[in-house]
Each structure stands twice: as structure tokens, then as C-alpha cells.
Symmetry: none
Subunit: 204 residues, 2 copies
DNA sequence: CGTGACACGTGAGCC
DNA sequence: TGGCTCACGTGTCAC
């Protein structure tokens, strides 16, 4: 009647061991045999779920599982610390930022406005093809506060990747030339990209 | 002569069990007895160090230790996700919230660190005087995500005004040259400005 | 008394 | 072959 090793494995740690046969009579000894089995299985299950949470695997050993979990917890704690530090720093700088900037912001804008009206800077967007995935572009637009930053953010958000960027400002105008390719697109059409960039510039 | 259970405990899990006495002769059986002892002790040690990393304690059980570690890892993963989401949201200057895909946030951080150390682009800051209020500067530093934007923000916040700016990126490096004057200062010292810029670059 | 948790020694599979 | 890991059953404390 020995149904031994019945529910102990069914896990990827267990390597399917069997127990040798007992005498069918006698020898049904310890009372906490089933309890011990349940305890072991519970511990193995816990170990498995812990295992499933840790992304980096070195070995399937019990000790290695715990070791990987240890290093992973340390990495996570470090990440949380770094991220919360960055967040606090950004929050504090953005709070302090508002008051002192507004003063010269108005001055700059006013000066730029006058210069813009007299000079009359005209926007220009030129796009030429380098190869199927890569384009070269030249953009001229009017210099206004943080407009170039917003352009960068918009292009990054839209999946454009800019390399060999060159930015020059001169008397109220910004000239940007760069190689550009789109991260997730196979092809990049000239006219389409040009219109997209013009749309970005008008919206910022 | 039975000095039994000699090196098995010495841990706060073990509850100081002793072993029953053997016959002093014979019965020294299995070959892997010591190896098994080492294995068990290593596993217990790992479990203890894992235990020491987890702040919330429910029980001193082995299973409970792993259980607590599991919930703690889940909490840490959730925190990392929330923090990185907030950080991304703040970086993209409000408005449209994208759904961040970042699973491998810690991998990216590690990769960035390694890349910085291996490549080792050397920073360079040169500042020369144009006149009493105006300087010319050249900055070379390693290209990292939104680092130029942060440089602009920092310099704007510190009251620097940049004109005739020229930015060029090339193979992981950024070169910035610009005329600069400080809005609220009468004079602008070369060495002081250079150190300030170096400080900005190191902090971003 | 029972229940739960633990370390122990051991046979066996794997590389 | 031997080293390593595993599940197993058991004795034994503590509550």
C-alpha cells in the first residue's frame, strides 16, 4: 500500500526521485511524516515563486536561487534609492525654478519679439535622403524660450533618433542640422518627415 | 566522546538541537556527510542574509522568510515602476502620458554605468574672456539622455544667458560653444565660471 | 497530548 | 569515478 513520494515533486527543481520499496507490512512509523512532506513542499513552492520573481538566473540550485534573490533585492533597493533621489531633486529644482526665471523671461521675450518683428525670420525645413532609413535635415526657426528643448522632446517622443546634431543660434534664429532616423520604422519618407517637423515647429 | 551537532547551529534560526548518541565504534557511514552538512549550512546562511535584507518580519520560519522576501520583492518592483513612471512623466514636461515599457530599467542603468566607465569620454571646459561682462566657453562632455537639456536648464536657472550657441554631437560626445553673460552680475570671472560649469556637468 | 519546525543522516540521480 | 544536490524519513525540541 505504499503510495510513497506521491505529492512531493511536480516542480522543476525536483529531479524526479523515487523511494525504494518498503516491506508491505510493519514499518509505518512516524506520525509527522505527512506533515513533514507538506512542510517541505510548501517551502519548495515558496522557493519557486521567489524564483519566478527574480529575472537573472544563474543556477537552479536552492542556494543559487536565494543568492540571486539576494543580489536582486540589493539591486532593487539601489534603484529605488536612486530613483527617489532623482525625483526629489527634480521636484525641488522645479519648485525653486519658477520665481527667478520669470523676471528675465519677460525681458527676453520682449527683446526677441522686437527683433523678430524687425528681422522677420522665416521658418525653413529641408529634408534630404541619405538612405532608406536615414535622412538629413536642416531646420531654421525663430529663437524663443526653450523652443529648441521642446523640439528635442517632441522628436524624441515621436521616435526620431538624431545623430551628429549641430545647433547654431544667430540673432534670434536657430539653425539645426542633423542626421535623423526613426527608431521603430523601416522606411522614412522625405515629404512625410518634412511635414511632421513643420507641424512640430508650429505647435511649439 | 560524542561532540555531536558541532557546527550545525550558531544561527538564530536553529533552535539548538542535539543529536542522540552513537556507538563510539562502527557506524560512520555515509561519505557525503560533511558535504551535506556544508550544503545545509550554506543554504541556511543564504537564507539568513536574505532575511537581513527584508525589513518586514512575520516569523523566523524558513517558509516565512521566503514568503516575506517574495512580498518585499513585489513591493520593490512596484516602487521602481511607480518611481520611474513619475520620473519619465516629469521629464516629458507634463501633458501626454505615454505608457512606459521599461521592464529592464535596472539593466539600462547598469549598462549606462558600464558604458560611461569603459568609454571614458573626458570632460573639457574652457572659458576665455571677451570683455568684462561677456565670456566665451567651450564644453565637451559625454552624451547621455537629456543631458544637454539639463545643462541648458541649469545655466538658465543660474542666470547665464547664452548667445551664438553652437552644439555638435559626435560619437557619444557633445561639444557646446557659446558666448555667455550673466544676467545679474556686473563682472564675470573666468576661473569662477569654469568651476561652476564643471560643477553643473558633474551633477547632471 | 498533539502540532509544527528544525537538523540530521542517508540513498540516489546527475554531471 | 567522485563531487554535488536533492527528497526522504526520523528524532527531538518548543509551544
Amino acid at each position: 500500500m505504499e503510495f510513497l513520494g506521491s505529492a512531493s515533486d511536480a516542480s522543476c527543481i525536483t529531479r524526479a526521485r523515487r523511494r525504494q520499496a518498503y516491506d508491505d507490512s510493519t514499518e509505518f512509523k512516524s506520525k509527522n511524516l505527512h506533515a513533514e512532506r507538506r512542510r517541505r513542499q510548501k517551502l519548495s513552492d515558496r522557493l519557486l515563486t521567489l524564483r519566478s520573481l527574480v529575472p537573472i538566473i544563474t543556477n537552479m540550485n536552492k542556494a543559487s536561487i536565494i543568492e540571486d534573490a539576494i543580489t536582486y533585492v540589493e539591486v532593487l533597493q539601489r534603484d529605488v534609492k536612486i530613483l527617489s533621489d532623482q525625483l526629489l531633486e527634480m521636484e525641488s529644482t522645479s519648485e525653486e525654478k519658477e520665481i527667478p526665471i520669470r523676471i528675465d523671461d519677460q525681458i527676453n521675450n520682449a527683446a526677441d519679439d522686437q527683433e523678430m518683428k524687425t528681422n522677420g525670420i522665416e521658418e525653413d525645413v529641408e529634408v534630404t535622403k541619405i538612405n532608406g532609413k536615414k535622412l538629413w535635415m536642416k531646420i531654421v526657426f525663430e529663437k524663443k524660450r526653450s523652443r529648441f528643448t521642446k523640439l528635442l522632446e517632441a522628436m524624441t517622443y515621436l521616435g526620431f533618433e538624431m545623430t551628429d546634431t549641430n545647433v547654431t543660434t544667430f540673432k534670434g534664429a536657430i539653425l539645426v542640422s542633423a542626421s535623423v532616423e526613426r527608431t521603430y520604422e523601416d522606411t522614412l519618407e522625405v515629404q512625410e518627415t518634412k511635414e511632421l517637423i513643420q507641424q512640430i515647429i508650429r505647435s511649439i
